[in-house]
Subunit: 344 residues, 2 copies
DNA sequence: GCCGGTTGCGTCAACGTTGACGTAGGAGGA
DNA sequence: TCCTCCTACGTCAACGTTGACGCAACCGGC
């Protein structure tokens, strides 16, 4: 068993020799193509079983006219992030239905790294890629797209043309969140957001502004904190906000980790039942906290399914105009977003 | 740009023609092999750039003597599970350092599905696989291993020989958790576990038994609930336990979702500060709950790194005897596991 | 008997790349 | 001067598979 590794993988030639037919006939049998009699089919199948033959998809895709590798690439920011991994899972499920496997990579939101991974995927001749574009210029993505690689962007739209993309209702749902807070009587609603280079951050901020405007509230610039990359920065920002002379009575945290950071501070100050909080993006156990955290929940599996659907359609030759699919998010009320401003 | 998709990818032959050299020379230049003069190197590089040539790794690995595809397979239970995705990320990081990409799949703990995915990976001639074995017989894995495919199992050991594996200190850490509860004075400590077919469940149960024995406590069989596959079953089981005439004063929940289910029930009954709880496996926000949840934390990145290290060593021809690496877990005290039995 | 069509195979070359090997020309030594 | 060695290329075949095509045998119809 130890020297098993040295054994050469059997090929069609080996099967052909054993079954006393040509390799072409083996190919026909393996691929279920017509042109082989029942007796020959049986003989070839038996020979393949005996030898433990398994087709070599790389050789096959090299020779086939359609050049399919039955493999797609997925390039997300961080595969260990729950949002990303849920997305990956949804894409994977859909891919499996077509016998397609997924080459997965984390770009760390680094353009250089994303470019390198893209090259790696291209070298393996993947049939298409699903990408969460790294911040900043998308030249590498654009180049790849212009070469003709089927591509779908998720979470963030392309800065170039002719490319499908799937996002959620960042702006509308943010506005809805702010309007709900305003309806409760809040007039000092803070915005805490992620890096401003991210399209999603910008959209959510715009939604915040629209919400304020629609509720007839004036923007207090000192209540806006952005570029909070990670929970630690969010904590600091939250502390600063709460130390203002006229602190906010409600927080809209426009990203996952920011929500966690803010929650931590509210809790540390014992304010979790006095200051309202709505976060963008759901997270596990949000309902188990006290109070439960009201969030805008994205339909992550829905986004993944849509992205997969689009990429496979393109791979199958769909040449209809590019689509920007928007998968609706929903406000999930759990308590923290239903706190009215305190009377003091 | 739209008909760009029809453009054929340039090959070495195209580059060779433009640079007026042979394809072999192009090969030499692309791979940085000696045997090409500076002037020719420059000419070839220029031609490759002009044409936008990119090497075809599938053709290359077909022809090369080492047969490497620079791709490994990762087959976990559910890529959207935080444990699995953290593991994937760790493996991916290590793989990237060697220019290796990862084909990822979810087996859903279904042997049939795992077998099919394994065949898919084999068809793509991956250099090795990292697998979380699905419950029950591991025949498909064993067969693949016996063919010589480098393989590392994670989280659960193989039921067959000659295969590396990486697990955590399931038994020891479980015993430690039970001993801590016993030291606080608990005499009725319940065990709530996942499917008994899982090796980890068995190990954790054994650790529980060892803990009881070491503390001089007698096992009360009615306090042991297993096969709790998912949070819902865990809730039911917890309710049943709490309704006993002599209910447990402490719970040891031997899996993530089981912990969540039990927490939910304790909370619903207002017992979260009266009944002690220690869970196996950490989860996000465990520290934000009230009380914080005491858990046994696995070193997930550590496990992933170790698995990656092993698989790449095997791929590189390491033939030393198979290893069962054990990455230590640690008890993280947050409050729920430090509750003494109530005096009533 | 001849013709056209179908069935059931086989032969050959090619996909893009690289290993084995060949060779021309120059450098260097005896 | 000749022989050897090295450098810098080129030629050829092969990796495992499949598309294009060929061809013999058989069928049915007239």
């Amino acid at each position: 068993m130890d020297q098993a590794g040295e054994r050469r993988e059997p090929t069609m030639r080996d099967v052909a020799a054993l079954a006393k037919v040509s390799t072409k006939t083996v190919s026909r049998v393996i691929n279920g193509l017509p042109g082989a009699g029942q007796e020959v089919v049986d003989r070839v199948r038996a020979a393949a079983r005996t030898l433990g033959y398994r087709p070599n998809l790389t050789a096959s895709s090299l020779r086939r006219s359609d050049r399919r590798s039955a493999t797609i690439g997925v390039l997300f920011e961080d595969l260990s992030n729950p949002f990303d991994s849920a997305l990956l899972r949804a894409v994977e499920d859909r891919a499996r239905q077509g016998g397609v496997l997924v080459l997965a990579g984390s770009s760390e939101d680094d353009r250089t790294l994303q470019g390198e991974l893209l090259v790696s995927l291209a070298a393996r001749r993947v049939d298409g890629v699903v990408v969460m574009a790294a911040g900043g210029h998308q030249d590498a993505l654009q180049q790849e797209r212009e070469r003709g690689t089927p591509m779908v962007l998720v979470d963030r739209p392309p800065t170039f043309g002719s490319t499908d993309c799937v996002t959620t209702t960042n702006r509308d749902s943010s506005r809805e969140a702010v309007l709900q807070l305003a309806a409760l009587g809040h007039r000092d609603i803070a915005f805490l957001g992620d890096r401003r280079t991210l399209w999603t951050s910008q959209e959510r901020y715009t939604g915040y502004l629209e919400g304020l405007a629609q509720a007839g509230l004036t923007l207090r610039e000192e209540l806006v904190r952005t570029d909070l990359h990670g929970a630690d920065l969010a904590e600091t920002a939250t502390n600063t906000l709460l130390d203002l002379d006229r602190p906010p009575t409600a927080l809209f945290t426009a990203q996952n980790l920011v929500t966690v950071g803010s929650m931590r501070v509210l809790r540390a100050r014992g304010l979790q039942r006095r200051i309202a909080l709505i976060g963008f993006d759901d997270f596990p156990l949000a309902d188990m906290l006290e109070p439960g955290i009201t969030v805008v929940r994205q339909d992550v599996p829905g986004i993944g399914r849509k992205a997969a659907e689009l990429i496979f359609a393109r791979i199958d030759g769909d040449t209809s105009p590019p689509v920007h699919a928007v998968v609706p998010a929903a406000l999930v009320r759990r308590g923290s977003g239903e706190i009215a401003p305190s009377a003091d």
